[in-house]
Symmetry: C2
Subunit: 163 residues, 2 copies
């Protein structure tokens, strides 16, 4: 049977996928923070076939166990792979839920990163503002709130006026 | 843009959908049990657009709140709609994970029901055997175990030799 796997993957990702940004304290970096984009798709270990299919189709990323909730997670963290393989797929086959808004923000941030905006205080501030409006009401809500608190403290300590 | 929504829906359902059977005690029925097939798709209320899209596309079923986990659920319970609208879709656009096994069992049971097999003790026994191998490792694992215990008791009480 002749399948349209691109659409199938977009449908699957609309349910199970996540576009997210995280930030890590890195004192040795000029701006003090590492910006880490991630595209991930989770599934119960019992039926992880689709994760392997997605990995094969995209030709990048890795699959690992998430011990916190006993799922398997397919994840792409490489900015180059995100820009060349993941993002073009969802431009051609957009998500149909409001998760598409997160994708567009994610795409914007990745494009900013390709111009090294995250390595300057002004650019990072803009990226953070966008990032913290992503995934509203998602599973990571409380983690995000904790991150914001932590970031506020650290940012104030770093330059006193970034937010 | 010309989308292939059929594949998109199959991808979405592979992640978020469920084919299930439940049984209710009905003393006024000859065999003592009502067999209830259900196709459902769940999503957070914040981004339920895809559920409305699926409902529109299938032209059947209803959307309701699931107060137990604060999700919205699209559900089709009508055997006629399942046989004429839902099942043909997944025959043409099969699931790619092992959830497809559940779909095939679900389809088999619905076809048996269309021949009224569930209204005879022998047919119901066969349907139950298939139904309780569905959704292994799913969220409803413990509920299924409880159902099996309850059914065993009730079945023994009813005719003493159905299992």
């Amino acid at each position: 049977m002749n399948r349209n796997l691109e659409e199938y993957i977009s449908g699957y990702v609309d349910g199970e996928g996540c576009f997210s940004l995280s930030f890590s304290r890195r004192n040795k970096m000029l701006v003090g923070w590492e910006t880490k984009p991630s595209f991930s798709v989770s599934q119960n270990q019992e039926r992880a076939e689709v994760l392997y299919l997605i990995q094969k189709r995209f030709g990048c990323g890795f699959i690992r166990r998430d011990y916190s909730d006993k799922t398997l997670k397919y994840e792409v963290r490489s900015l180059d792979d995100l820009l060349k393989k993941i993002i073009p797929h969802f431009v051609t086959n957009p998500l149909l839920s409001s998760k598409q808004d997160d994708f567009l923000k994610f795409r914007k941030i990745c494009l900013m990163m390709s111009k090294e905006k995250h390595k300057q205080s002004k650019g990072l501030k803009e990226i953070m503002k966008i990032a913290f409006t992503m995934n509203p009401g998602g599973k990571r809500k409380y983690t995000q709130a904790m991150m914001i608190c932590s970031l506020d403290e650290d940012i104030v300590n770093t330059d006193g006026n970034i937010r």
